[in-house]
């Protein structure tokens, strides 16, 4: 196991990439991080993900694995004894996979609408976004983490969006903490762990990125941009 080579092709603001960084960090796996310029994708990226040509791409001993949820599950299966992310019981696993799927279906797209739209569309997105976070709060219940006493699969899948919350709040002119205090408490609890705080960029940095995109590109074009494209 000593000479495993793990490479991650990523883009620093991508919440999808952050999931993989966090999973690797939780497991204490050393890897080489390669920042991609999405306007000038590397040959390696195009070779390793020829179908989607998107980050993140996890390369393990030369073999590529694509799609962030698949990557996190792969990491959990390759290194099962170090801080397992998914439980062993099939029913508990199904619950975790359901909520990860829920995050995947809802949070990114709604969050994107919050910072790229205005007026009625934005209000509707904010409302639905908060409703989804409240459902997640319900699932969290009184647990410290979705995974129970330790970070689990759903924690790793959801926590990256916390780095984008400040940007959503500024663009949407609302407070996520006011609406979902339990979820923010959960996120801050996650951030107390190095594996999370070192894998996520600073919220201000993400907001700066959003402002830059809005200024340079213009709001209407943002929706088409590969930078923040859905399966990135």
């Amino acid at each position: 196991m000593g000479d495993e080579k793990v490479v991650l092709l990523d883009f620093w603001p991508s919440p999808f990439g952050m999931r993989v960084r966090t999973a690797l960090a939780v497991k204490g796996i050393k890897y080489e991080y390669k920042e991609e310029d999405l306007s000038n994708k590397s040959d390696l990226l195009l070779k390793m993900n020829p179908i989607h040509k998107k980050i993140p791409v996890l390369i393990h001993n030369g073999k590529p694995i694509c799609e962030s949820l698949i990557q996190v599950q792969y990491i959990d299966e390759i290194w099962p004894h170090k801080s397992p992310l998914l439980p062993t019981d099939p029913y508990q696993r199904a619950i975790a996979k359901f909520w990860a799927d829920f995050v995947e279906k809802k949070i990114y797209d709604l969050g994107k609408k919050v910072w790229t739209t205005k007026g009625e569309e934005q209000e509707a997105a904010k409302k639905e976004f908060i409703a989804c976070l409240k459902l997640l709060e319900g699932e969290l219940g009184n647990k410290d983490y979705f995974g129970g006493e330790n970070l689990g699969y759903v924690d790793v899948v959801l926590v990256p969006f916390y780095s984008w919350f400040y940007a959503y709040e500024k663009c949407g002119n609302f407070s996520i903490e006011r609406e979902c205090p339990k979820l923010i408490a959960w996120a801050k609890r996650c951030m107390e762990k190095d594996s999370v705080s070192k894998s996520l960029p600073d919220q201000q940095k993400i907001y700066g990125f959003v402002l830059h995109l809005r200024k340079v590109v213009g709001l209407s074009k943002i929706l088409c941009l590969q930078h923040i494209s859905r399966h990135c």
């Binding site: 179908i51 393990h60 073999k63 694995i65 694509c66 799609e67 698949i70 990557q71 599950q73 792969y74 299966e77 390759i78 099939p90 029913y91 696993r93 199904a94 996979k97 359901f98 799927d101 829920f102 459902l135 399966h231």
Partner: protein
């Protein structure tokens, strides 16, 4: 064994079909409950799937599992004989990749190609053909995506291999043709001819008018929008 297994589904749904096929492949007996998803969803369905309120729902000893792919993985992990997902993590990741590709790219664009208007259809059809070409490459000379036997990718691809083929017949489209996609076409034939698949597929003569009605509804809704 004292296991109680129920599936809440809809006879024409390609998603609820997946759950049924998986249970049949594992030889697990179950009670099937058909939900009136277009009319009146039962209280039980709403209780077991409060978040999405959709079929299929698998109920195992009173515990609900929802989302077809989550259900398939649950069935695989609970009844370990006749496995349909590889053991090797890399091969498993590859299967999951194709499943996502089918569900997010192939199936939606093929369905869209069936009911979209004349001027949109060409663009969507071209996109669908690209996806089918890519999906075909996953077969790589094998009989099934799972190799010699049906795997989880095959179960999910039934949406394309059967349901879409029926849809195309109605619309007079010939997207999944033998000359354009010989391997994929052959796969859909081999798949549909497996006895275990055949006995659980909704019958064509019932599915045809149903899909026809659904397409008309989509076109109507789209025209209004």
């Amino acid at each position: 064994m004292g296991e109680e297994v129920k599936v809440f589904g809809y006879w024409a749904s390609p998603y609820s079909y997946r759950a049924e096929l998986a249970l049949k492949l594992k030889g697990v007996s179950y009670e099937y409950i058909n939900e009136d998803i277009f009319g009146n969803k039962s209280d039980l369905l709403l209780k077991y799937n409060p978040v999405h309120k959709k079929v299929p729902v698998l109920l195992h000893n009173g515990k609900p599992i929802v989302e077809s792919v989550v259900i398939l993985e649950y069935i695989e992990e609970t009844w370990k004989h006749n496995p349909y997902l590889p053991q090797d993590p890399y091969d498993k990741a590859t299967a999951r990749f194709w499943i996502k590709f089918i569900d997010e790219k192939c199936f939606p664009t093929l369905w869209l190609a069936a009911w979209s208007s004349e001027n949109e259809r060409e663009k969507v059809t071209n996109e669908a053909c690209e996806y089918m070409k890519t999906l075909e490459s996953a077969l790589n000379g094998k009989k099934f995506f799972g190799g010699e036997t049906i795997g989880m990718v095959d179960i999910v691809a039934s949406s394309v291999g059967y349901f879409i083929r029926v849809t195309q017949e109605i619309m007079g489209l010939n997207l999944l043709s033998a000359d354009k996609f010989p391997q994929l076409f052959q796969w859909s034939e081999d798949f549909a001819n497996c006895s275990i698949v055949k006995e659980s597929l909704p019958p064509r003569d019932k599915l045809l008018p149903f899909v026809k009605g659904l397409i008309a509804k989509y076109q109507q809704d789209n025209a209004k929008a």
